[in-house]
Subunit: 179 residues, 2 copies
DNA sequence: GGGGTTGGCTAATGCTGTTAGCCTCTGGCT
DNA sequence: AGCCAGAGGCTAACAGCATTAGCCAACCCC
């Protein structure tokens, strides 16, 4: 419950802005009392990160269910972007790379990627090519939403259209087979 | 000079790891002495960010000079990725979005994007389509390098190849005109 | 009804950013 | 030569945050 409150707080003040004091105040409790529930600020961040990864994976899976091919990719990409814009703090948390020996965090980080793999399987992509395609889509989607959510697109050109262009371009590229 | 030392330090301990104490120690000076050169930690971070953005823009421009079309895009993308891997702390600094009223930082942030625009002009892309293309390439390159530099690509598949695939796919998409 | 667990609290510590106030060196002006 | 202003260092002190220690009330189970 404390971690869940931390995730909500992160969306309001930014992931980096989450502090023990702020979270305690939000919960109507004194700061040291939180240590009965989380080991440390670092552990809290890890918890928010893992929870957010699972929430994201669930959202993505729901968006893509019952679709296939380019349709599924667009649904995936759209759901991802909407989720990032709605949950800036959680999104920052999902970007946090797990420690190399943290099984639970590694599993959580793999969940959203797995959804993408399942979609690409419906494209007839296999093995190395499926990995390349998943990396390409993931990179593009993450990069675009990351820049957008931090206000990095200065020009006035419609952002929705640019996003669709990016996804369409990649789908086109995936469909024209390459060596 | 202090900012330059800060940038070097960021590459060693991470942008978030840069502290006044650590930087002072690195410069053989006591912590409060730094305040004769920078206003605050926040100002130091801003300085590192602006310097890094200029360095990146210069590197990208040098890589693309004398090339055009797909060749220039590959040179740009390759130089970007190499720079990120060589300068993890500086890279994190360049991702930091400027304050909306910070003219100098805004200008610095625009410099790398401008290089990309110049390259795309050689593709015959104009106006809205050029903006879409620049955003697509920028998003993809930023996303890929961001994930790679934080160790986010778990699978053993060769990362160089995946990167080339991503760039090739986008170039292909850019060349086949879309509505 | 007693005892352990849960979950709160105050007090205190350490680390980091920051400010105040002081001192020394240096370089140009008279 | 003497002066003096500014640059750049220092120590001491303070504030905010994470964290720990130690204490206490409520609740639950037997």
């Amino acid at each position: 419950m404390v971690v869940a409150a931390g995730a909500d707080l992160a969306d309001e003040v930014g992931f980096a802005g989450v502090s023990m004091g702020l979270l305690a105040e939000r919960l109507g409790v004194r700061t040291p009392s939180l240590y009965k529930h989380v080991d440390s600020l670092e552990a809290l961040r890890r918890g928010i990160s893992i929870q957010s990864k699972h929430e994201l994976a669930g959202t993505l899976a729901r968006a893509a269910v019952g679709r296939s091919g380019p349709d599924a990719v667009h649904a995936f990409a759209g759901a991802y972007r909407r989720w990032v814009l709605d949950h800036p703090g959680r999104h920052t948390a999902t970007v946090r790379a797990p420690a190399p020996d943290d099984e639970e965090d590694l599993a959580a980080a793999g969940a959203p990627v797995q959804v993408l793999f399942d979609i690409l399987a419906g494209f007839g992509l296999r093995d190395a090519r499926a990995i390349d395609a998943a990396r390409a889509l993931r990179s593009a989607i993450h990069g675009f939403t990351d820049i957008e959510s931090s206000g990095g697109f200065g020009l006035p050109r419609n952002i929705d259209r640019s996003y669709r262009f990016l996804i369409d371009t990649l789908i086109t590229g995936l469909q024209t087979d390459q060596p």
